[in-house]
């Protein structure tokens, strides 16, 4: 496993292949907890490190990944009018998911290695999470070459140009998705892209996502949704068309639980995203002209539709692009939730507001933190004077 001494020394400082040292280093730190000793400062260090933290996020994504895989297959067979068993659904899903992940990690990983070699730095494990996230926010029918472009854009422009993991202002996975949204809107918006279909689509199958159906409901919005098969529980469990990982709120909540218990994800952000969404939904409900308006959609429906839950749990909580202060996190989360529901209800031309709301708040996170810091300084001055 460990490169033998002679070979390894060629990569070390002064060796022939010194330039490629980050590769050896990445392999070593990936496979081993190395006996590197503390020097200066604290003599002991917590067993926890960034790599562990990233892995916890990936583990928290597993339920969504597994359910998403199943759902891709399920929707495929449902659209063709074939009744398939669970194993068939899972296998069909795998034929879609595996290529997506292979492309994402191959392209993203290549960029990471490339930048690490240029900088002569260690390879960061940050791409683990970005790479695990990207396929989950894609429609299942996304062409692989478009995915490759999106991953490149997300990693290079979203992260590496800012200096790598820890320096980026936007969430790289969302940058990838935003790139697709603006560059290839046909692949990632509209009503027809959220199910992988075969040659034949039966009439009984609803291609559109609940969010699309909500734009112009015929009659009472909730009745309209359930008439198309989207009652609350179906959307909660997730057997519906949509981005691969976002449909099942149950799977997402399991992930949320893992993130919160381990302390990896900020409960402050998660809770306040839902709070912000709920408050704006309640205000909209109060002003809804008729029960047939999307303004009349209750808050708990917003939570289970589209990428709301997935964004709140896995995207908004990215510690690098979120607000860094504890009180700032409440504001940051609240505004994400509020903006999302606002976009959904007041600008139905684009029914999903989550991605843009998070990117927008990524941009404002430093300003929120700045305000919190200024208030802290003022409080400290007052306290010292008094």
């Amino acid at each position: 496993m460990k490169p033998p001494g002679k070979m390894r020394s060629a990569f070390e400082k002064g060796g022939r292949l010194e330039r490629f040292w980050p590769l050896v280093d990445a392999a070593e730190t990936f496979f081993f907890r190395l006996p590197v000793r503390t020097a200066g400062g604290a003599h002991i260090r917590d067993a926890y490190d960034l790599k562990r933290m990233m892995m916890i996020v990936v583990v928290a994504l597993f339920p969504s990944m597994i359910f998403g895989t199943y759902n891709v297959g399920y929707q495929f067979y449902a659209s063709a009018g074939i009744s398939a068993d669970h194993i068939a659904c899972m296998l069909k899903g795998l034929t879609v998911i595996i290529p997506l992940y292979v492309v994402t990690f191959a392209v993203g990983g290549a960029w990471e290695v490339f930048f690490a070699l240029i900088r002569g730095e260690e390879i960061n494990e940050g791409f683990f999470v970005t790479g695990a996230l990207i396929p989950l926010v894609m429609p299942p029918a996304i062409p692989l070459w478009q995915l490759a472009l999106a991953v490149s854009f997300g990693v290079v422009l979203g992260k590496e140009l800012f200096g790598g993991t820890g320096m980026n202002i936007f969430n790289p996975a969302l940058v990838s998705r935003a790139f697709l949204f603006f560059a290839y809107p046909k692949s990632i918006s509209g009503a027809g892209v959220w199910t992988l279909t075969g040659d034949r689509v039966v009439d009984a199958y609803t291609m559109a996502t609940p969010l699309h159906l909500g734009i112009e409901p015929k009659g009472d919005i909730i009745t309209h949704l359930s008439a198309n098969g989207f009652d609350f529980w179906r959307m909660f469990t997730g057997l519906e068309p949509g981005s691969i990982g976002e449909t099942s709120v149950i799977a997402i909540l399991i992930g949320a639980l893992i993130l919160i218990i381990t302390g990896v994800g900020s409960w402050r952000i998660i809770v306040s995203v839902f709070a912000g969404g709920a408050v704006v939904a309640l205000v909209c409900n109060a002003f809804a002209p008729s029960p047939a308006s999307i303004l009349a959609l209750p808050a708990h429906y917003h939570f289970v539709m589209g990428g709301f839950a997935f964004g709140a749990v896995f995207m908004a909580t990215d510690p690098v692009s979120a607000a860094g202060t504890n009180s700032g996190k409440y504001v940051y989360g609240f505004l994400i939730g509020a903006l999302t529901v606002m976009v959904r209800t007041l600008n139905p031309a684009y029914p999903e507001g989550m991605m843009l709301a998070i990117l927008f708040m990524n941009l404002f996170a430093p300003l929120i933190d700045y305000t919190v810091v200024q208030l802290n300084m003022k409080r400290r001055v007052r306290r010292a004077a008094g």
Binding site: P35, Y48, D49, M53, G166, G263, N376
Partner: protein, 456 residues
Amino acid sequence: MANYRLKKGYDIRIAGEAEKFIERAPLPESVGLYPADFYGMTPKPLVEGGERVKVGTPLWRDKRRESLVVTSPVSGTVAEVRRGERRVLGAVVIRTDGKQHVATTAAPPPKRVSSSARGDIIGALCAAGLFPLVRQRPFGTIADPQATPRDIFVTAMDTAPLAPDQGLIIKNHQREFQRGIDVLAVLTPGKVHLCADGGPGGDSLFDGVKNVEHHRFAGPHPAGNVGVHIHHVSPIRGAGDIVWHCTVQGVILIGRFFIAGAPSFEVTAAVAGPAAARRRYVEVLAGAEISSFAGASDAFPSARFISGNVLTGRNAGADGFLGFGDNLVTIIPETKKSVFLGWLSPGFSLESFSGSFVSRLMPRRRFAIDTNRNGSVRAFVATGIYERLLPMDILPLFLLKSILAGDIEEMEKLGILDVTPEDFALCEYACPSKTDIQRILRDGIDLVLKEARERE
């Protein structure tokens, strides 16, 4: 009496607490003092190799405040005056002669301790080399004998990992402690604040101490840090707002000097840590060779000897010396083995503040933590961990960033005057990016201190 209950912080579950009995250590063959233990002093050596010294003979003095000297804790011969980079004084090592002759001093402690004798008291403490037991905030330097402190804080608790029991340190020295308090009370126009452990393990020996204002602090580490006490009782108001502080051991040594009339540097120290043999308390001289009273257990052929605690102590080496002002030697195993896919392990035997290891479910278990850094150095990530470990109204991440940016004004506004590196040691322990946080803080304090001294 005021009670403070702090929630933030963490007690690292490290194994190897010292057993609660005191033994007398033999007189060491050699004693060493490191100028690095006296932050804020610029040492100018007063002795050379081969010179004979007695207890209380000055070894070096401060360049800025000439009355401030560090004296020998033993009588014997100077074996070595170690120099470091750019000939900076690194250590003075003295070979003991076993006689413990005391140097005659021109400034004996005054018989009556009253505010009219303040100048004489400071003069006597300085001449005996006991004044460096008093430290100063802001910046955590050795106290300036020319300053008048607003208040003096006495820290009668220590929450650091495997910290010595302060009750055991004071147990046989209560009279000396009270006398030391009375001496300190004269040095300030303000109050002497005695901050003791208000938790279930707190010691009632401090309840009867007079001439002080009592405070009780309860909570996990760093609830016992003097910086936390000052921050909560009466915070530093600016670079010129001077507060002195002293440990229980320091107060005892000062009191003893005023009772006996001659300086003595005998302290009570704990020997602790997962790799330590014979964990116990010893009565030993400040600066004593660590090998004269502590050793590693045979099960750990490679061990690190730390003077002080695992978070802030100095790596002394097996042939090193007990630091001036230290009451603890911690011995921990050096890390050796690579662990295959170590970062994936469920972590039954790994200590962590985070909730990401199974060990979280075993709050009473103690771990033989070794010196592994447990990860590679990465960029800062705002994980929110520091905020949970610093029980002060300070935004740790932003203070650190202002230091990295070298912005002195910002640093002061964000609270650098309230802290020293030890207050951030726990953040350093738990930092998933393995940042050297204490180093950053030291750099920041160095910078602000330099500017403050230039303004003088």
